[in-house]
Symmetry: C2
């Protein structure tokens, strides 16, 4: 196996300050609302639609950072909540920021901690001032206000910081959803006011549950605050996918066309294409990494569960279009690694899955440029067995 060709030169030219945080629409697909664009950050340009692998604790789990580059990923996500607890944002700042800490010189987006307060923290209490909760690591009490979230993210030095939002479980009472939405807007303004770094942009987060009117109202009110980008949050928390698509149908048109749109925490390959055809530009999800660690691989023919006994003597590759490190191996070998609990199984499947997601984004970009996104979408869905 030749390996040199797998390591693409990946140090981006660093953009000039005047171009930072500009979104440029390069082409509007003629068959859908899909957009082909680019977004400029201090650490390089992100071609959209784009998918960010998740590097929760300063590492994309299982991947040496050169492997992350190899997949073609242009921007990665770091988690404010986790990194503030361990090793501590002050430690990361002392060591020169998250880019230097983890050896990634491309763009980084950090979330705000809002979703982790919702999903991980114990004994949380949310007031207008802040969220108070206990660390999932050692139980100590943590205060997280919009201002503190921005302070952490400035310490981490990400290119894009997310505003602190108030995420609620779905379904929920209309009153609870509206209150969380209103608070999220007030907190977004407080985050904006707390910013001190020119080399970091903030994205606001649209909340509003599964209520289209609330979503539109939230998008419009946040739009008035003129953030350089907008996220759609509070989805993919257990609702049926069609509900999510319905909210995207309503929300995307209410967002400023000249700003990037980021659908947080989503998702399966089909969800990505459903988002793109509704005008979403940016995604993140643990799905390729978490599933990779659990022996589930994404391919154009659908998912492959490598622990399945039928692969015991299967000499065929998982996916001939995979990265060279995986394409040259048999399904039987990959299965063996998981059965023997060898680290290399999670490593290789994570690499494959992240590369698969990146390839999907590059294919989507090409399809938009050539005004054939809908037929691309249909063909992919048929291949995955998810044709609607």
């Amino acid at each position: 196996m030749e390996r040199r060709d797998t390591l693409e030169a990946s140090t981006p030219d660093k953009p000039a300050e005047k171009d930072w945080f500009q979104y440029q629409l390069k082409h509007q697909d003629g068959t859908s609302k899909a957009r082909r664009g680019q977004f400029v950050t201090p650490h390089g340009v992100v071609q959209t639609p784009a998918f960010m692998p998740v590097g929760t604790q300063g590492t994309v789990k299982g991947l040496e950072i050169g492997m992350v580059r190899q997949t073609g990923a242009q921007m990665i996500l770091g988690n404010t909540y986790h990194l503030s607890l361990r090793p501590g944002d002050d430690v990361v700042a002392d060591l020169g920021g998250l880019h230097k800490f983890m050896g990634w010189d491309g763009p980084i987006l950090t979330d705000s901690g809002g979703f982790q307060i919702f999903s991980l923290a114990q004994m949380r209490k949310i007031t207008e001032q802040e969220a108070v909760f206990r660390s999932h690591i050692d139980g100590r009490k943590i205060h997280l206000s919009p201002e503190r979230s921005i302070e952490i993210q400035e310490n981490l030095g990400s290119d894009i910081a997310m505003v602190l939002d108030h995420v609620v479980a779905l379904p929920n009472e209309p009153k609870v959803i509206r209150e969380a939405m209103d608070r999220s807007i007030r907190w977004a303004k407080r985050c904006q006011d707390a910013a001190t770094r020119k080399d970091q942009a903030q994205f606001a987060i649209v909340q509003g549950g599964l209520d289209e009117k609330l979503r539109v109202e939230c998008a419009e009110r946040l739009g008035e605050l003129n953030f350089p980008g907008y996220a759609i949050g509070g989805l993919s928390v257990g609702e049926p996918p069609p509900e999510m698509y319905r909210i995207l149908d309503a929300t995307c048109p209410a967002l400023p066309a000249e700003k990037p749109r980021y659908l947080m925490g989503v998702g399966r390959p089909e969800d990505l294409l459903e988002g793109i055809r509704r005008g979403v530009d940016l995604f993140d999800c643990v799905m390729p990494t978490r599933n990779g660690r659990n022996a589930l691989a994404f391919t154009d023919e659908g998912t492959v569960r490598l622990r399945n006994a039928k692969y015991q003597r299967d000499s065929t590759p998982l996916d001939p279009k995979s990265v060279p490190q995986v394409a040259g191996l048999s399904r039987a070998y990959l299965r063996h690694l998981f059965m023997a609990k060898e680290m290399l199984g999670p490593i290789l499947l994570t690499l494959h899955n992240v590369a698969y997601y990146q390839r999907l984004m590059r294919e989507a970009q090409a399809a938009i440029e050539e005004d054939r996104f809908e037929s691309f979408y249909q063909a992919k869905m048929e291949g995955w067995g998810s044709a609607s």
Copy 2:
């Protein structure tokens, strides 16, 4: 960080059949008994002294196979016992042999299972005919005779197979040690008689505990059987290092000078140099990989325990001479990965340690070629704080 330079072209030219299993002494050090040589296998030439990383279950734990190549490792070790239990040597054979199975086209040596019967198997019973024991995975009863060990190793298709030996705990009664030695010699002959593959050589294993006379007798009796290589087994099982060195002092001169000498399961960097200066050519050990997974790194200044709190904000690299994937990172980051239980910690430390061992071998080779092995040895020992 530039990555291209880290991936050396590593596909060796495949040697002609007439040269297979020849050992060539290239230079005898003028200051010690250290030997600079090479050993030819069907899958390439091994420059000696050499260290084999251990790939117990068809993978060097934590390392993508390109990373193994990157370290400069020329030959790796696979485990007969483990691979015969899982996935099964018949499965590996069906899939084209161990080289193809794991994607390694360089030389492979397989052990015989003798040491694992000693160290891992439950309820073992050893008769003249065979060892009978229970699998450590599922408790089923396994029969391992010399003939079956060779059958497994031929199924795996390694370049070098080890004869099945009878390993006993030390210290032990002289009678037990002699019986195990005598049996090991009879089993070596049975292994030799069982061989059917021309593209696989067998190495015999010298036993005899810590008794120099037994060791010499064993070496001489095995020498008469004219194996293409000789191993020294049954050491590094808990005896003090000077005892091992004493046995090496006695055994190496009793082995044929025109054959490679392999000290099995050894060891620490200082043990490797102690072996080399006594005329050993080949080593294997889990130490660089196992310690790497446990946050212990080898450097020219001694071992570094990366979990130590003093590294929490240490911005210096672990070792500026490490592989690029590690040299560009801080000790603080490496520590963080271990504290956060991230796979990347074991991956990077394993890569570093295996590369450190390979660099040590290349440095030793150069020192021998230049007749300065003793001063090289002294300088290394002083750096490690192990000066004798």
